[in-house]
């Protein structure tokens, strides 16, 4: 309840002073009850301006301040920080917005504008007089982080967190971590072997004492709030006892069923019981219930169980749920690439030799289904003319996605280069609209592809691809020469658009975070806060936010990890104390507030009075409006204060 209030009126250059008589506002403010200091200044938020406030608080022993300036959205925190640093409670600070609400809308009537400004300052002072000093609510947090997604982004973030001494849980829906990076043949521009650089990180994470991997698992439900999330994880049924499984792979040798392999992007098969790839972490088998004969028909086969030296195969449905309590969550669910079957002009998936970039990676990969021999999926022959088509489904607002998928120019160049190294007497053509080589060493890499390997870059989007006499005819126009070009290709590689991983929409709902256009995870601010979301405690990293290469992914992952670590570093979070409070003497226990609260923050105690959970209350005020007895209201925004505010404003 301040009695020695200081009023500070800002000119904001000409922004306010141009339409409001700031000196008059200052003079009228000085006359108000409870005001012992009033002054004005050109730019209150500047260093000298802030110094004025500081000095006044100090010299005049102010116990509350009103700043008449721009929107509280911009600078309320600034004024509150001044108060904090001068020993004044930051909740005894009120802002009268005389810029956005007075000076800007009422430019043409200085007299009326000034009158309004004076009223607003009066109202702010009236409210301040009945405000109480508050302390932020400290809520202890769990010093642990959940990372959703086990690609390079998730792995990097998890490692950083584990190294910082916090507990980290990594949940991944596939049987192994590794993500897209584990499927690549070589990385641009360094041409590193991705498995070689990734596997050390994967194993480090798996063995780290602070880390727990929950693979072949999905997020079922998330409750709680920042600092105290309760996450229910569904550990999917593996039908194999992982405590016994040693990852020897004998089961895979005898399984009679073959289905397209997800790891091989569909160009090769796996068995119904499988370990996704040789460097899988954890190196354990799972059974796919959709293709396993024993699981589909309830009997028969069972060859794998007979073969297993560890007796690990039980065919038992061992699905179970686990509850995790974490303080922060990082979402790193990565990307997928569009399937070739979407594109009717390139064969609608009918031609076996029209494949996606990811499928070509598997052909190039030394540990891939062809041991790195580049051969046509249709007949196994070595292709001598290979056409690479960029921008398939990207940069196409009319038919597909308007955005650029960012990585295709570089990986196409890499694939064309690797193809030429594998088949030196072959010819590669890249059909492009633009070349985006915007990283370190990227432009030089493109130069290398063109110059050293004579890869021909044709500037024109391919019109169509069709089969003729066993070859694939690729028809385009080179817009630079203005001529139609035709290639009788043996193999066509489509750089199809990157899209968010399936299931992201449902996951975002569970986490209460937003998605941007295109379904990518939405950041808090595109330029300044790219790894945070608008939901406190939930961070994002990697291609899930937008397609990006490994360099940017790793950087972002470490950034998100740093944010999460920093958030939890104090061991507690501070919440705004502007929450609802119940006067238990008046509360009749009707329960209206409990039903209305969108955050589930109010409940009735055993004595049938309402009780507010300060950790969950967001200060929305719905309960205050609904309470028939007037027992529940927002601290520093209670009904009587609001009545005073209103009557001040309307009084003549």
């Amino acid at each position: 309840m301040p009695e020695r209030i200081g009023v500070f009126v800002c000119h904001c250059g000409q922004n306010i002073a141009g339409s409001v008589d700031v000196e008059k506002v200052r003079d009228e403010a000085a006359k108000l009850a409870g005001v012992v200091h009033a002054e004005d200044y050109v730019f209150m938020c500047s260093d000298p301006g802030q110094e004025l406030i500081r000095r006044a608080i100090h010299e005049k022993n102010l116990d509350g301040i009103v700043v008449a300036a721009c929107s509280p959205f911009l600078h309320k925190e600034t004024w509150q920080n001044i108060a904090k640093n001068t020993g004044l409670n930051p909740y005894l600070v009120e802002v009268a917005n005389i810029r956005e609400w007075v000076a800007w809308p009422h430019r043409n009537d200085k007299e009326k504008a000034t009158e309004k400004a004076i009223k607003m300052v009066e109202a702010a002072v009236a409210k301040l007089r009945s405000d109480v000093a508050l302390q932020p609510i400290k809520i202890p947090v769990k010093k642990s982080v959940l990372v959703i997604g086990g690609g390079i982004a998730g792995i990097q973030a998890a490692l950083d967190i584990a190294e910082a001494g916090l507990k980290v849980y990594l949940v991944e829906k596939d049987p192994s971590i590794g993500g897209k990076m584990a499927q690549l043949s070589e990385t641009f521009p360094t041409l590193d072997c991705p498995q070689c650089i990734l596997t050390p990180k994967m194993t480090e994470l798996a063995h780290h004492r602070n880390a727990t991997l929950l693979t072949y698992s999905e997020i079922e439900d998330v409750t709680g709030s920042a600092g105290n999330f309760k996450v229910k994880v569904r550990r999917k049924a593996t039908y194999v006892n992982w405590d016994k499984c040693v990852g020897c792979g004998s089961c895979m040798q005898v399984c009679p069923v073959e289905v397209p392999s997800e790891y091989e992007a569909g160009i090769a098969n796996r068995k119904a019981i499988y370990i996704p790839f040789p460097q899988a972490v954890p190196n354990k088998a799972v059974i796919d219930p959709m293709s396993c004969l024993r699981l589909k028909y309830g009997k028969g086969c069972g060859l794998c169980a007979k073969e297993c030296p560890a007796g690990a195969i039980s065919f038992k449905n061992n699905e179970r749920f686990e509850e995790l309590e974490v303080g922060a969550i990082i979402v790193a669910t990565g990307l997928e690439v569009m399937d070739a079957s979407n594109f009717a002009e390139y064969g609608h998936g009918k031609y076996k030799d029209v494949i996606t970039g990811l499928q070509f990676e598997r052909l190039l990969a030394p540990s891939g289904p062809t041991q790195g021999r580049v051969i046509r999926p249709s007949d196994g022959k070595v292709p001598k003319e290979v056409a690479f088509i960029q921008c398939v489904g990207s940069r196409d607002p009319e038919n597909w996605n308007p955005y650029c998928s960012k990585i295709c120019c570089m990986y196409t160049a890499k694939q064309a280069l690797l193809y030429k190294e594998a088949v030196p007497d072959g010819q590669a053509y890249v059909f492009y609209i633009d070349i985006r080589a915007d990283g370190k060493g990227y432009e030089e890499f493109i130069h290398r592809a063109m110059s050293e390997h004579k890869i021909v870059y044709i500037r024109g989007k391919v019109g169509k691809v069709y089969e003729e006499e066993g070859k694939l005819k690729v028809v385009a126009v080179d817009t630079l020469t203005g001529k139609k070009v035709e290639v009788n290709a043996d193999l066509v590689v489509l750089a199809t658009a990157a899209v968010p991983s399936p299931g992201v929409k449902e996951l975002a709902k569970k986490l209460r975070i937003q998605l941007s256009e295109g379904g990518w995870l939405k950041e808090a601010h595109l330029k300044l806060r790219p790894v945070e979301t608008l939901t406190t405690g939930v961070y994002i990293a990697g291609a899930a936010q937008y397609p990006k290469d490994i360099t940017d992914t790793v950087a972002q992952a470490s950034g998100a990890a740093a944010k999460a670590i920093s958030f939890l570093s104090k061991g507690y979070v501070e919440r705004e104390p502007l929450v609802a409070k119940v006067d238990e003497d008046i509360c009749s226990g009707c329960g209206n507030c409990v039903a209305l609260c969108p955050y589930g923050a109010v409940e009735l105690t055993d004595e049938r009075v309402a009780k507010v959970d300060e950790a969950l209350c967001e200060g929305c005020g719905a309960c205050t409006a609904a309470c028939t007895a007037g027992a529940i209201s927002l601290v520093n925004y209670d009904k009587r204060q609001l009545f005073d505010l209103i009557s001040t404003l309307v009084r003549r």
Binding site: E345, C391, R395, D396, P397, E398, N399, W400, I433, D434, R459, G460, K461, V462, G463, K464, V475, A476, V477, D478, T479, G482, K484
Partner: protein, 164 residues
């Protein structure tokens, strides 16, 4: 009636358009295109935009329209080049062979990633000349036995597309 008749304002244009329209083949091609707001925000471009109703400046010259045009080999300017020339305000497109060999098949329109209907652009360029009351097709010059064997839709279609 006045307000739904064809816009005749372009007909009262000064002699520049008429000069360009009568450019004969074999004229030396300009090797330099000076660009300025005068030609890019000028009357020609604005008229084309208005008459075709297409977002010409969205074109990023990917060339897919040209790749699928069935009449490409008979054209002097490719469909994507047509758009480019309009973007640059080059009125000589009005003298190209391209716009008269176009059969409005819409292969270009269906493929364009930016949703531009290049066939409508060609139509706008044709109309800018036809509306000067100059026919491109003279049915009187067609031998009678040819006219008799033609299906009526060919004659109606051709007359509506190629005559004033």
């Amino acid at each position: 009636m006045r307000n739904i008749l064809a816009d005749s304002s372009f007909c009262s244009r000064n002699s520049v358009v008429i000069k360009v329209f009568y450019v004969k083949k074999g004229q030396p091609i300009d090797m330099v295109f000076p660009l300025s707001k005068e030609n890019i925000r000028g009357r020609f471009v604005n008229k084309v935009l208005e008459l075709s109703g297409q977002d010409i400046f969205a074109c990023y010259q990917c060339g897919k329209c040209s790749a699928l045009c069935p009449s490409l080999e008979r054209m002097d300017l490719l469909p994507n080049q047509l758009v480019r020339m309009v973007q640059f305000g080059r009125e000589e497109v009005l003298g190209s062979k391209t716009i008269w060999i176009c059969s409005s098949c819409f292969s270009c329109a269906v493929e364009c990633p930016k949703g531009i209907d290049i066939a409508s652009l060609a139509e706008a360029l044709r109309l800018m000349q036809l509306r000067l009351n100059v026919d491109h097709l003279d049915l009187n010059k067609i031998p009678t036995e040819d006219l008799e064997e033609l299906p009526p839709i060919a004659i109606v279609g051709g007359a509506r597309k190629f005559t004033a």
